[in-house]
Amino acid sequence: MTKMKLRSAAGSCSLVHDIFRNLKKDCVVEFRSRVSFAISMAFAGISTIAVSLVSGGVPFSSLVQAILLWLILFFSAMNGLAHIFTREEEEGTSLFLLLNSNLDAVFLGKLIFNIVFFFVLQVLITPLYLFFIQAVPARPGHFIAAVISGGVAISSSTTFLGAMVAKAGGRGSLFTIISFPVLLPVLWISIAETAGSLQSGGSTAVGNLVFLLAFSGLVVAISLILFRAVWNSQ
C-alpha cells in the first residue's frame, strides 16, 4: 500500500521558491484587504492611549511600564496574528493552498509574514507607548533588542497555534486561551528584560535574549513537524 505521502513539491530550491510564492500571495491578499491590518493597528494604538489616559500621566516604575507594554503587545498579537490562517479557512481557499504548494512552504511563508507583521506593529506601537508614558529607556540598544526578540518569540509560536484555531472555527478568544500558556514564560522574560533596559542600573542579561530567540527556533522546529497533522485534512 503506498504510504499516503502528503503533498510536497520536489527539491529544496523549489521550496524557497514556494515560500516566496506563498509570501507574495499572502502579502498581496493582506494588502488588498487591509481591514484586518487596520484593526490590529487600531487595537494596539487604542490600548496604548487607553493605558496612558487611564494612568493620567502618573509616572510608574520601569517594571510596571514594561508589564503594560508587553500586555499591549500580547493582546494586539492575539488580535491580529491568527488572521493569516483563519482567512484561509473562512474563504475556503485552504484546499487551493493544499493542492498547490507543499505544507512546509505554506507554513514558512505565513511564519515570515507573521514575524514581519508583528515587527511592523511593534515599530509603530512602541515609540507611541514610550511617548505617552514619557519614558526614555536608559539603554535604548538593550530595550530595542528585548522588544524585537520578544516579538519574534511571540509571533513565531502563535503562527502554528493560529493554524489550529483556523481549523477549530477561528473564534478569537480560543486563540488567546491556547496561546497564553505557551507565551507566559516569553512574556515573563521579555518583561524582565525590558524593565532592566528601562532602568538606569542593571546589566544586559544576554542570556534572556538568547533564550527568547532559542525559544522561537525550537517552536518553529516543532511547528514544522506538527503542521502536517493540523493543516492537512483528515
Binding site: 520536489a10 500571495k25 484546499l95 485534512s233
Partner: protein
C-alpha cells in the same frame, strides 16, 4: 513526449466512513491513460469524498489508491504535481485577480502561459486582471478549470466541473475536455447526464 507512458490510477477495496456510517465500501476500479470514469449517484452518496480520496486530499478509512506509470508506482511529490482537481469546496483567492491566481497556481512560466491561453479560450480574457471578487460563479468555475489544468496534470479529478456554467461555457469546457482526455486519466463526479456521457465508463455509488 513521443511515446505516452501508460499511466494508471487503481483503487483497491476503497472504503470510507464518517463517524459511524459507511459512505462506500470495497470500491475496486482502475482508470488507464485515455480512458475516463464517470462517478454518478444520488446526492450524499460520497462522490465528492471519493474524488478527494483519489486526489490524495482525504485519506480512505480502508483500502488504498495506487498511481502507476507503466506499472511503476509514481513517487509522491511527482504525483502531487500531476494532479488537477476541481470541486465546489475549492475556491480561488477573491482579492487576487484571475491572472494572479494562475500565477500562484502555476509552477513555471510555461504553465502560466498555457493556462492564460485557456482562460482566453473560455472567454475570460477581458476579466483576466479584475479581482475574482467581481467574478460571477460561472466565471469562477472557468477560472477553477484553468487553475486545475495549469500544471499540465496527468490525472484529472473533476467534481461537477460544469456546475453553474452557462451553455456556451459548458460547451467550450466539454470541447476542451474531449480534446485532452485521450492522453490523460480523467475521473468526473457528476449528476449531469451529458457530462457523464463524456466518459467511457460509469461507476454508480450509493446503490
Amino acid at each position: 513526449m513521443a511515446v505516452i507512458p501508460v499511466k494508471e490510477i487503481e483503487a483497491k477495496s476503497l472504503s470510507k466512513k464518517f463517524g459511524r456510517t459507511w459512505i462506500f465500501r470495497d470500491l475496486n476500479f482502475s482508470v488507464k491513460t485515455g480512458s475516463s470514469l464517470a462517478v454518478v449517484g444520488p446526492n450524499g452518496s460520497g462522490k465528492s469524498t471519493l474524488l478527494q480520496i483519489l486526489a490524495g486530499i482525504q485519506r480512505p478509512s480502508l483500502g488504498a489508491v495506487l498511481f502507476t506509470a507503466d506499472g511503476l508506482t509514481i513517487p509522491d511529490h511527482e504525483k502531487n504535481e500531476s494532479i488537477g482537481f476541481i470541486s465546489p469546496l475549492f475556491l480561488p483567492y477573491r482579492e487576487l485577480s484571475g491572472r494572479e491566481n494562475l500565477e500562484f497556481a502555476a509552477r513555471d512560466k510555461a504553465g502560466l502561459a498555457r493556462s492564460c491561453e485557456l482562460l482566453d479560450m473560455l472567454g475570460l480574457d477581458r476579466h483576466k486582471d479584475k479581482q475574482v471578487k467581481s467574478y460571477s460563479t460561472g466565471m469562477i468555475q472557468r477560472l477553477k478549470y484553468c487553475i486545475a489544468l495549469c500544471g499540465d496534470p496527468f490525472f484529472l479529478f473533476l467534481d461537477e466541473p460544469g456546475s453553474n456554467l452557462d451553455d456556451d461555457g459548458r460547451e467550450a469546457m466539454y470541447r476542451h475536455l474531449v480534446s485532452i482526455k485521450n492522453e490523460r486519466v480523467l475521473v468526473i463526479a457528476t449528476n449531469d447526464q451529458n457530462e457523464a456521457a463524456l466518459c467511457s465508463r460509469e461507476l454508480l455509488l450509493g446503490s
